[in-house]
Symmetry: D2
Subunit: 310 residues, 4 copies
Amino acid sequence: MSPATYAFLGPEGTFTEAALLQVPGAVEATRIPCTNVNAALDLVRSGQADAAMVPIENSVEGGVTATLDAIATGAELRIIREALVPITFVLVARPGVEVSDVKRISTHGHAWAQCRRWLDAHLPDVDYVPGSSTAAAAMGLLAADAHYDAAICAPLVAAEQPGLTVLAENIGDNFDAVTRFILVGRPGVLPERTGADKTTVVVPLPQDRPGALMDILDQFASRGVNLSRIESRPTGQYLGHYFFSIDADGHAADARVGDALAALHRISPATRFLGSYPRVDKDITEVAPHTSDAAFASAQAWVEAILQGE
Amino acid sequence: MSPATYAFLGPEGTFTEAALLQVPGAVEATRIPCTNVNAALDLVRSGQADAAMVPIENSVEGGVTATLDAIATGAELRIIREALVPITFVLVARPGVEVSDVKRISTHGHAWAQCRRWLDAHLPDVDYVPGSSTAAAAMGLLAADAHYDAAICAPLVAAEQPGLTVLAENIGDNFDAVTRFILVGRPGVLPERTGADKTTVVVPLPQDRPGALMDILDQFASRGVNLSRIESRPTGQYLGHYFFSIDADGHAADARVGDALAALHRISPATRFLGSYPRVDKDITEVAPHTSDAAFASAQAWVEAILQGE
Amino acid sequence: MSPATYAFLGPEGTFTEAALLQVPGAVEATRIPCTNVNAALDLVRSGQADAAMVPIENSVEGGVTATLDAIATGAELRIIREALVPITFVLVARPGVEVSDVKRISTHGHAWAQCRRWLDAHLPDVDYVPGSSTAAAAMGLLAADAHYDAAICAPLVAAEQPGLTVLAENIGDNFDAVTRFILVGRPGVLPERTGADKTTVVVPLPQDRPGALMDILDQFASRGVNLSRIESRPTGQYLGHYFFSIDADGHAADARVGDALAALHRISPATRFLGSYPRVDKDITEVAPHTSDAAFASAQAWVEAILQGE
Amino acid sequence: MSPATYAFLGPEGTFTEAALLQVPGAVEATRIPCTNVNAALDLVRSGQADAAMVPIENSVEGGVTATLDAIATGAELRIIREALVPITFVLVARPGVEVSDVKRISTHGHAWAQCRRWLDAHLPDVDYVPGSSTAAAAMGLLAADAHYDAAICAPLVAAEQPGLTVLAENIGDNFDAVTRFILVGRPGVLPERTGADKTTVVVPLPQDRPGALMDILDQFASRGVNLSRIESRPTGQYLGHYFFSIDADGHAADARVGDALAALHRISPATRFLGSYPRVDKDITEVAPHTSDAAFASAQAWVEAILQGE
């Protein structure tokens, strides 16, 4: 699969574009920045883009919630790849501005939160101006009527924009911060099974069954499928109504994973499959003998023989 | 299926023959009494009998343990029918003997245990002579050298044997006592699904997995399959090594039961299927919507579509 | 408890102040608006305020995540009360502005998201200007250099601010939207048990124990304690490290809840107790006989007697 | 504790007496053989004996079932010690009898079953005469009117009885056969905790709660308590009504075991505690940190502090 057109959560210069550039062929491809996750995914749904790169976990751009919700509803999509990008921040301004001149800083709220310690130490009295993204905040500095002096953004923006000067680097509180991104396409043939795969599902919690969450977790556990991520999200319908977004080790083509998916569908028929794709860390999934494909095949054959009267 | 030859745990006149006579056509069929459960089952295994009637639960003949063990090993067999017989006891002797004359009573140990209260009240000083079955004890009274005066047996024996007089009826401690019997044949086409079925399995407890019993029970519970009987038996190999004999509601042709069987086979590959057959009480099994055949078919189709890239 | 000074997530006129005004005595009390949840909670921690009202669930102010994180770390706090406020939105502008004049709207991002349908229908080409809160966006209209024409905010702001005109009412997509708020104080004597109580805990997921989440849920389920809310939050330490914020039915003084809390502490020693307080809906919790205080007391007495050798 | 009078399942010379002789001081003590398990336990209940030794598991004397049932009902008793005896069988007869002369053999039914292979090989045509115990069968050979030629019994009987000759040794099918015995006293101070202890309970399965067995097992599993034996027994009230006899690792004075006992009492209030006593194999129980006494104490203190408002 080699899509020629990619959407991504823009603007240019965000960590998301950095993630997209990790995809083979993306450098030469058409890359369409979008103002929000929904817009990026809609380009995929409408066929205008082959796939979209969006943040899914621990992002500084606030992408997590938006992405979790956006891929959980609307026309079905498939995650076909994941990418990790280390998150570092720089403080930028127009040439000539010193750190000591800075009175008002704009950036995305999450970036602001992640640089709090540096700011408290170096600019304790600075004011915060909310921005819709780190890159937008940075670009806004170039406008004639900019009502703030500096912005916090990704190093990529600063590197690409000659009109900006870096006042300070690595100002994030957590040097190990990383954001996970996903490349999302339309339903189709799944990426091939590699043995180091991940499967993502969205499972609405049935309301009429107490203990439903334990039942859902048990479908994985009882088949030896480990979970690497589980997040709750309100469905927005009423207080206390949730869906769970889950990453499980393994590929839908693994018998134990396919069997768990079928069980989830029975418990919660609106369960949505979001894809099986290679893990970016390439960690091979360990499989206990009794949950191997061979064990499933043998068990199936045994039951078939019983039903055939053999 | 209309077998012409039945084996049963004898001798004639036991509760087991009463159970066999409930089978349509059994009155006209050849009925072979056997001295023990293994012998009866071996006639089936060798083809000399079409099926064998043996006690499985709460029997006065000690059949439970023997039967559980006998069908759990050796060449595979299938339960094709169950039968219930109320258990009542009579005290019999040769004509002319009065209750007050009785000094020594013979019967099977279980029958002795079940009449303890009556004996304490009416014959507190009587001696006990072990017998291999209630019927054998009764028939032994007719021998010239009988070294006991009376026997405890089933009413059927007394009714069929003119040489015996009933000294007392209904001498069992528990008026509601009942024994469950099973009709056992060779593997073949399963009895048709009626909606009020029972499935019997033998599951050796894997030794290398703590919590294995919970795992086994969970395979039923998580698929909405109720258990009506669960009994542990030592495998005889070493202390603490067990198998479990389990009756579950439903038929192997029910998707939820078939799926649970497959799961058991994965956890404990030596799991043995002992049959799916109509319940004698004809209680229809209630099935929750999410464990119905339709739910299983829908879930299977959903996973197939995912794997096909639809 | 009758605190004289309350902090709340401001500015004045937000839904949070509406929630605070539901507290008996709050109308006469000193009410300190704070710019963010952490600031409000810090006033409580430092003793400058007796309690703080902050949004916890489904808020339009983005309070959920901030609150969940803020009460999960730092000096311990206790939830002592909850409040519900229906969420409705109005579009406001300066006098003389018509809907058709509006080119740029400011509000909090969550409010923007919740009015999307009305905006698409009535102002499809309007631009969005991020605001730090709905009330701040509304008040910003009164500034001389306001770079937007209208704001989306709570009816309370518009009602209290004569310089603003309401252009449209009830513009939220979901007419049943409601936000839950909590009143947070310092640790101390718990609110009395009413039979209709809620207990909130924060449980970090132990990393070294697979199945830990199921274990945690099982501590509630096995003691008959229902959960009304469960939300995952990243701890921020590394990808895949979560804590769970959980609301359970019942009061810590209920034996089953106290016992579940102790069990959570064993599994995850950093578990944080956030309070037991009356449910705002006054729904009495149903308790099965075997999880009643009487059952716990009887079981405890039984074990004590065994250990005493009685 | 040094009881001067012991009851045991007799007659003298059975494996049970061999087990009793392992108890320090038993050689000099008064030892009362009893004809059945109930009789032995009744001597303890009435105070005529200080303790009774009876078989509990895998016995050749049929003691298992009788013991399980006898200690599960009636006045409460306590297991204070366990003992293991290897099971070997000898064929005995009166002097002058050769193996080739033997036509009829008496023994207990279980012993008969365990020597089947040797008998099939050496005496294929021999008849079986049921005996109430292996020792009784052996002693019966000395009676003038013995209607059998040989008996199968324990080596101890043959060794103590000069009137009998051993025709063959080690005739059991399973050379590793072992029986576990228990020494049973009246309720009182529990044997001291050694770190290598076992706790025995009898738990009736509540009928009105589906999944009750899983709940019961979960009370152990969720507190890290391993089970070394679990056996089902019908209560005798009606088909499908069971109790479970369970051996768990640990002592009632271990916090995790005491807590599990309390939980069992809540689920099934008729749960019966049968004792905590040292394991005969002296295997130290491994305890995970989060189920240690320290973890329980810390959790309890934490909850207390919360309830005290600290």
